[in-house]
């Protein structure tokens, strides 16, 4: 991995720590946040499937009542 351009302070990935080839907290925190968001999608998918199941149950209930 090239280290070109890692001079600007204040950006994730440009601290003295990063320049020494070490991972820095700000960069890792940003990645962790993205990963958390992505993992939450699976929970959201389960919620949606639950809604679909409820709609299916509601439909069958209506049919039975009729």
């Amino acid at each position: 991995v090239s280290t070109a351009g890692r001079q600007r302070p204040g950006l994730p990935g440009t601290s003295p720590l990063a320049r020494r080839g070490r991972r820095e907290p700000a960069f890792d925190a940003e990645l962790r946040q993205a990963q958390r968001y992505e993992r939450r999608l699976l929970l959201k998918a389960h919620l949606c499937l639950l809604v679909i199941a409820m709609v299916a149950v509601l439909r069958q209930t209506f049919l039975l009542v009729e």
């Binding site: 991995v1 090239s2 070109a4 351009g5 890692r6 001079q7 600007r8 950006l11 994730p12 990935g13 440009t14 990063a18 991972r23 820095e24 960069f27 990645l31 993205a34 990963q35 968001y37 992505e38 993992r39 939450r40 999608l41 699976l42 959201k44 998918a45 919620l47 949606c48 499937l49 809604v51 679909i52 709609v55 299916a56 509601l58 439909r59 209506f62 049919l63 009542v65 009729e66």
Partner: protein, 503 residues
């Protein structure tokens, strides 16, 4: 076998084929459901684990033809990127603009010496790919650039966007990265909000699913970052023979053995058409490009053993479910109408089956897509609901709750004092069976009506009745026709006014 035994067998086979044709109508929604569920697995299978801080020297190539309304602001924003300033160089390829574009770019070049370069093509009009190639040739001519960002003149790059893309290039296996283009017209109108929701489904959701598969269908033309090695490996040029040059670049990248990655958190903002006719022109170009790509790579599809993943079964299913959607809709309609005359009871069962599956898939895709990008979801939830069109929504409601739907329909008839004869009832059923195909015609009429007197109100009404989804299918159908006629490949630029906001 006697004639008496053969005939019923032939009839049964015929009906079976008709039912199969009707069931083709659910292939696109099932593929869409599969894709959106794959997207939900992006938390476990993504590229973030291989990201590292990486700020390659980046040449940003902006093709520009009469972009005076937006180019100055775009350059200013690029100068403010959260990226080492000495590692960004902007090349604006002015394609013989006749407005103030050259003056604006020259002024910016004076303001940012060495960081903004004005490249002028005196004889332009050949299209975006030719314009890009002029910039790529210049940027690759010296050894400065380690990466190249291809973008559109109007696309707004928020400060973190470039570094969020470049972190993926720290993995040498990755050849190109693309971001999530979010529709940003403000105040916008109903059409831009339809597009905003479509972009969540087609990018934020679908491309996450493609990341999970490890194969990307398209690097967004307005935001694609390539490593220098990748661009050199694919010939250092963008394909000029297709209207889908960005898709060809994506395929070439993966065929060259490099990965193409989508980062949904690298969000950029774009202004999209606010008129149906302009949207039609843009999408016709894209759809024709996709037909060309399909034919060009015809030996590639459904060959799972190929190492690049483009021949994967899932990837092929996603690709063809979009490309062949009008075919599926027409075949399903034809099957249903034939069954209606041959076996009305079977037709009724087949119809109900298709619409129950469609209804559940619609609910899942819409809900999950809105949750994938809640920011856009809050702005566009009405368009998300209306995406299939008013009539299809009514059919979805009927499929889910036939009793209440029939009751409401009877109430409506009694309120209006209409009494239907058996013949009229059959007529209504036939129209409903025809709807999958007719919806495309209604959506196409929305485009025609727009340019006629009264079109300002009639066109949105027709589009809401026919549906935005069917409009996209109608465009794809028009693309088949244009390709079959070998119509001239023209690059019609989408008008940009600078009304997109980064908020």
């Amino acid at each position: 076998m006697t004639m008496g035994g053969t005939l019923p067998a032939v009839v049964s086979v015929g009906k079976g084929l008709l039912v199969a044709a009707v069931l083709l109508g659910v292939v696109p929604v099932l593929a869409g459901t599969y894709q959106v569920l794959l997207a939900a697995g992006h938390g476990w299978r993504n590229h973030y684990g291989r990201c590292a801080p990486y700020f390659p020297r980046t040449a940003i190539i902006i093709p520009a033809w009469n972009e005076a309304a937006v180019i100055g602001g775009s350059i200013d924003r690029l100068m403010r990127l959260e990226y080492p300033p000495e590692s960004v160089r902007v090349y604006v390829v002015d394609d013989a603009s006749s407005d103030a574009t050259p003056d604006i770019v020259r002024a910016k070049a004076r303001e940012h010496p060495g960081r903004v370069v004005h490249l002028r093509r005196e004889h332009g009009g050949q299209g975006k790919a030719h314009t890009l190639n002029h910039g790529l040739a210049t940027a690759l001519a010296d050894g400065w650039a380690q990466a190249l960002l291809i973008m559109d003149a109007d696309v707004i790059f928020p400060p973190p966007s470039l570094r969020l893309l470049s972190r993926h290039l720290a993995d040498p296996r990755v050849g190109a990265v693309t971001g999530y283009i979010r529709e940003g017209s403000r105040p916008g109108n109903y059409l831009t909000r339809f597009i905003a929701f479509e972009y969540v489904t087609a990018q934020a959701a679908a491309r996450r699913g493609q990341n999970v598969l490890g194969t990307l269908a398209c690097l967004a033309g307005g935001a694609q970052l390539h490593s220098r090695a990748n661009l050199e490996a694919i010939g250092g040029q963008i394909d000029t023979s297709s209207l889908a040059e960005d898709t060809v670049t994506t395929f070439k990248t993966q065929l060259a053995g490099h990965r193409a990655v989508f980062d949904p958190h690298a969000v950029v903002i774009a202004e999209e058409p606010g008129q149906v006719a302009a949207l039609w022109r843009q999408r016709l170009r894209w759809a024709r490009g996709n037909v060309q790509v399909t034919l060009r790579y015809r030996r590639l599809w459904f060959r799972p053993s190929a190492p690049h993943g483009l021949g994967g079964v899932s990837f092929g299913l996603f690709w063809f479910s979009v490309l062949l959607q009008p075919v599926f809709m027409v075949l399903a309609t034809a099957g249903l109408v034939t069954l209606f005359f041959a076996d009305p009871v079977l037709a009724s069962h087949a119809f109900r089956g298709v619409w129950i599956v469609t209804a559940l898939a619609y609910l899942l895709i819409t809900l999950l897509t809105l949750l994938i990008d809640p920011t856009t979801g809050r702005r566009c939830w009405r368009q998300a609901v209306m995406f299939p069109g008013l009539v299809s929504l009514a059919l979805i409601f009927y499929a889910l709750f036939p009793g209440p739907a029939s009751y409401l329909f009877e109430q409506l008839l009694s309120l209006t004092g209409v009494t239907l004869t058996h013949r009229e009832e059959r007529g209504i059923v036939l129209v409903i069976y025809l709807w999958l195909a007719v919806s495309m015609v209604v959506a196409w009429l929305a485009k025609l009506a727009e340019q006629r007197p009264g079109g300002r109100w009639l066109s949105p009404v027709l589009l809401h009745v026919g549906g935005y989804g069917p409009l996209l299918c109608a465009v794809t159908f028009a693309a088949y026709v244009k390709e079959a006629r070998r119509a001239e490949l023209t690059w019609e630029k989408t008008e940009k006014t600078g009304k997109a906001l980064s908020g």
